[in-house]
């Protein structure tokens, strides 16, 4: 089996489990939604700050949801020796990484579409510059999913993984939050040239974290 088809196999497996268990739609999605509502409570909508800070709030909501998605991605293999099965399946470590990261990315992208609708509706944001917003969101999501998956496997076998993963992931993906927020802000303000610069930074992060994952995932899975 080729590298790519191995990756597709793993991604399809993870997405099939999500489609059947409905944890992503029944738990992670509502979590993202309530975070959006809570931001509005914290920053009184009547003071009109919400439209200005909406890009940052949107990405914080995505970031927090991504922690849940990553935990979930490894929780499905925690029981019944499923991780041992994965280890012994003879698949390439890099391909497993790409498959799992792709599944997380697909879930996050679906979440983002819904949260974006929520932000537009709840925070009174007018959408401009979709030509940058779409690629920026995709690259940021790839970066989040890749970095999250690397740290996810790092903590997979550990008893304290639920508390450890956020501490490991959040500082590491700080550049994604920064760049994605700025890219969205600038795109909404129709300053597309500057928005593209931040989008390129998101691209660099996505590529670097994917490469790190392809190299490191196999050895980390062995030790988990």
């Amino acid at each position: 089996m080729s590298f790519a088809s191995e990756a597709v196999l793993i991604a399809a497996k993870d997405l099939r489990i999500e489609a059947r268990s409905r944890v992503a739609t029944a738990q992670i999605l509502p979590f993202g939604g309530i975070v959006l509502l809570l931001f509005a409570f914290a920053l009184d909508p009547r003071r009109n700050v919400l439209p200005t800070v909406a890009p940052g709030l949107f990405w914080i909501a995505v970031l927090l949801s991504s922690l849940l998605a990553v935990s979930r991605s490894f929780a499905i293999e925690a029981d019944h020796g499923a991780r041992d099965g994965l280890r012994l399946a003879g698949l390439d470590g890099g391909a497993i990484f790409l498959g799992k990261a792709a599944a997380v990315a697909v879930e996050l992208l679906a979440l983002e579409v819904i949260l974006l609708v929520g932000v537009v509706g709840l925070y009174d944001v007018e959408v401009h510059g979709l030509v940058v917003i779409v690629p920026a969101a995709i690259l940021a999501t790839v970066g989040l999913a890749a970095a999250g998956t690397v740290y996810g496997v790092l903590a997979a076998g550990l008893r304290v993984r639920e508390t450890l993963v956020p501490l490991l992931v959040l500082p590491a993906v700080a550049p994604v939050l920064l760049a994605a927020t700025r890219a969205f802000e600038l795109a909404l303000g129709e300053e597309l040239a500057d928005a593209w610069r931040w989008t390129s930074l998101l691209g660099v992060f996505a590529v670097v974290s994917s490469m790190v994952g392809v190299v490191a995932f196999g050895p980390l899975l062995e030790e988990s």
Binding site: L164, P171, A172, P175, L201, V208, E223
Partner: protein, 241 residues
């Protein structure tokens, strides 16, 4: 024994150097013409910041040497851990002393300046690494070494993005100019170099001492294991005898 003696000498030398630094920093060096005595904090802030970056660099190199099969030795793992611990303390110290200095000079305790913000992210990045190290377990050394390298790869990206953020949004900020302390007085620059040197000695001494402790902890774990096996084996041995 020889190693312990050497570490004792290093400890003595470090103490003398630190005492001299204290004397120069607090008494002999003149106060800064603009900042007054607040500038003396730099004799702690600058070495701490330098050591933080040095320590994380050493952690990355030691982790790489551990991962490389030909150079794999427990000592590299110990060095990576010891250095990261000192590095996190130095990063925390840098942020704290920077804030204390920033209050009278800048006004606020914190300024969203590129280097400061990068250092803060770094602090949490390596706190996570230390939290991971504490867990131990099977294959922990290899896992920790990979985690250290991943963190190290992230540092330039964090630095770059934060730098971009602060320069794009605060162009011509007065704070960036005020960050610079121009040290022209030879006594002040000597004190600064002395402080950097003596704190680097302290770093080396802390690393050596911590490494030896980690080595002893490893030995203890092995002895515990041997004892546990012996205890399990012994009753059956008496029965069969």
């Amino acid at each position: 024994m020889i190693e312990r003696l050497r570490s004792a000498w290093l400890g003595a030398l470090t103490s003398v150097a630190l005492a001299a630094t204290l004397l120069f920093a607090l008494v002999i060096a003149p106060p800064d013409s603009v900042q007054g005595d607040a500038a003396r904090l730099l004799y702690l802030h600058v070495p701490a910041a330098w050591l933080a970056y040095l320590a994380f660099f050493v952690t990355a190199v030691a982790s790489a040497l551990y991962l490389w099969p030909r150079t794999r030795r427990p000592a590299w793992d110990h060095l990576a851990g010891a250095s990261a611990e000192v590095g996190v303390i130095c990063t925390g110290l840098t942020l704290f002393v920077g804030s204390v200095w920033g209050k009278p000079i800048w006004g606020p305790w914190w300024e969203w300046e590129a280097r400061l913000t990068t250092t803060a992210v770094l602090f949490f990045l390596y706190l996570g690494y230390l939290a991971l190290r504490r867990l131990g377990g099977r294959g922990a050394e290899r896992r920790n070494a990979i985690a250290a390298l991943i963190a190290f790869v992230d540092v330039p990206i964090v630095h770059f993005s934060v730098n971009w953020w602060t320069t794009l949004h605060q162009e011509g900020s007065v704070f960036n100019d005020r960050m610079q302390v121009s040290i022209t007085d030879p006594l002040m620059s000597f004190t600064l170099w002395l402080a950097v040197g003596s704190f680097t000695l302290l770093y080396v001494w802390c690393c050596i001492t911590r490494m030896r402790l980690l080595e002893l902890e490893d030995g203890q774990a092995e002895r515990d294991l041997a004892r546990a096996i012996e205890a399990r084996v012994a009753p059956t041995a008496t029965v069969s005898a």
